[in-house]
Amino acid sequence: MLSFVRPDGTTADDLPIEVEVVRDLYARMVEARTYDDKSMAMQRQGRLATYAPFRGQEAAQIGAASALAEGDWVAATYRDAALNWSVGYPWRLLIAGRRGHEIGGRLPDGVNVLPPSITVGGHMIHAVGLAWAEALKGTGRIALTSFGDGATSEGDFHEAMNFAAVYQTPIVFFCQNNGYAISYPVEEQTRSETIAAKADAYGMPGVRVDGNDVVATLLVTARAVERARSGEGPSLIEAVTYRLGPHTTADDPARYRDRDEAEEWEERDPLLRIRLLLERAGLWTSEWQQELEERASSAIEEAVSWAEALPPPTFDEMLERVYARPTEALREQLEAGR
């Protein structure tokens, strides 16, 4: 498994990227965690629908997102808010969506991120098609699809991996192996030694990286992105991480995993190790931490206020977004239901 920053913040080698970049990655991880914490709290208060937390997976998501360029496509899941935000999906819309407002799926023009996939695994092949089209158009854009270990059991994983390899589409398959498909441990989901190993069968490289190490994840993803962009085809990345929270606000992980296991992973917290690294370099202070947290907090709160102040979606809008133009039946239903 490739790794760079150890859980205690030490590194095996000199930093291969500017320390300012690491500071920025850290700041983004703090902001993402603030969003996650606040979302959990808001769900408990009844202000959000069911929420799928990503606590513990910030490095994987922000590391991967940071390897992409503007215009690249992202097809990710309901747990990938940090990744999606990092490539331009505004907190405002993410929160609006979780509040049950359809406007949450309307990405700003120019942000090439699909609304998060809710069914498991069906979106990976979309990224293959997106990448395929961009290659045909010669735009130089690539696609990244993010999914969990659970999705690798879906038949759609096979079809997406195979199509990507057959047509050499410029795509990165980014798997966050967070240990569980809801309650089902990854060791029981597959007899493959690793998820990365599955890439061999498709004729593409598979890399296993410490997904709690934002530096290593960024470097590995950047290499896969470069490969895709230069026409060398698809890659699979397995970012090994851990979901510190529940699958969603609707389940209790105590039913299916040991408390000790989660505590062990708390020590491998992706934010902690970067804080220690920066501290050692004299670039982290508690004042800066406080400043980051306050800034993140007000960014999220501003987004929440915006989402809560949205006019409720109308009946007409519901019927008018099914087709480019409402059908005769929908026009009649518009009249009847008003």
């Binding site: 359809e102 098609g129 045909l136 079809e159 480019a324």
Partner: protein, 325 residues
Amino acid sequence: MSQLTLAQALNGALDTALSGDERVLLLGEDVGRAGGVFRITDGLREKYGPDRVYDTPVAESGIAGAAFGMAVAGMRPVAEIQFMGFSYPAYDQIVNHIARIRNRSSHRFTAPLVIRIPYGGGIGAAEHHSESMEAVYVHVPGLKVVVPSTPRDAKGLLLAAINDPDPVVFLEPIRLYRAVKEDVPEGAYEIEIGPVRVERSGTDLTLISWGAMMKETRQAASQLEAVGVSVEVLDVRTLSPLDRSGMAESVSKTGRAVVVHEAPLTGGLAGEIAASIQERCLYDLKAPVSRVTGWDTVFPLKLSEGHYLPSAERIVNAARKVLEE
């Protein structure tokens, strides 16, 4: 104009679309080198090259899902699924993704693609090759479902489907692929998705059908005309969105309707059409709307096809009963 079969007309539509719009591309199992299991894409890979006409691995969900991604990124993919019974692996992609991306993104992303599916029985193929499960597609909000029954309509409707801003499931009646020839215009033309086509005008009775069953419906109409019944025949052509007012207009004139389809009765479209007719023109009806359909069975193997497929005789008998009311 040239005299073409429905299969040739579809090939001509794809040829026209590929030559007129570089965003159009074809993908599917055996659509390239082999020209498709029914030869609908014959010669197109040779003419436009392997970067426009793709043979794909045997993976219907993958075909539909890749087409979805291509369409979202600005291409106009036309995917072929070999037979209707093979389309269900793609159903998740069609229902959960293709049909609803416009809704999920409030119009930011759309999937203007076409999925062509040969369908229907009467050619003695094994069960999954013969069924008519159009209702499972019609029930999906966000999809359009189109079925031609003549060569001229086939070309014009397919070109309209390719240019449509929404995803279209384009059902091709296998039994009619090479049944008749008709004058088909050269080059590009579109037939609007939506309106029914009044194939024959009459005053006593409306026969409503689509796809391959138009053949038996026409035969029944001729037999009825021979005994002095004035029959109006509607080819529905677009199953979603249904031209409810077009059908009601005809039935309010004739006062009687028989809806004919090859699909099983229960949950079939004839029920929706009958309901729609009585909602719009109950007081013009002289008899209840009648349905002549396939049975509520799995589509049978070759030797039982005769038991299954609605015949002209069944349609005539239903019409007689309606006329007696």
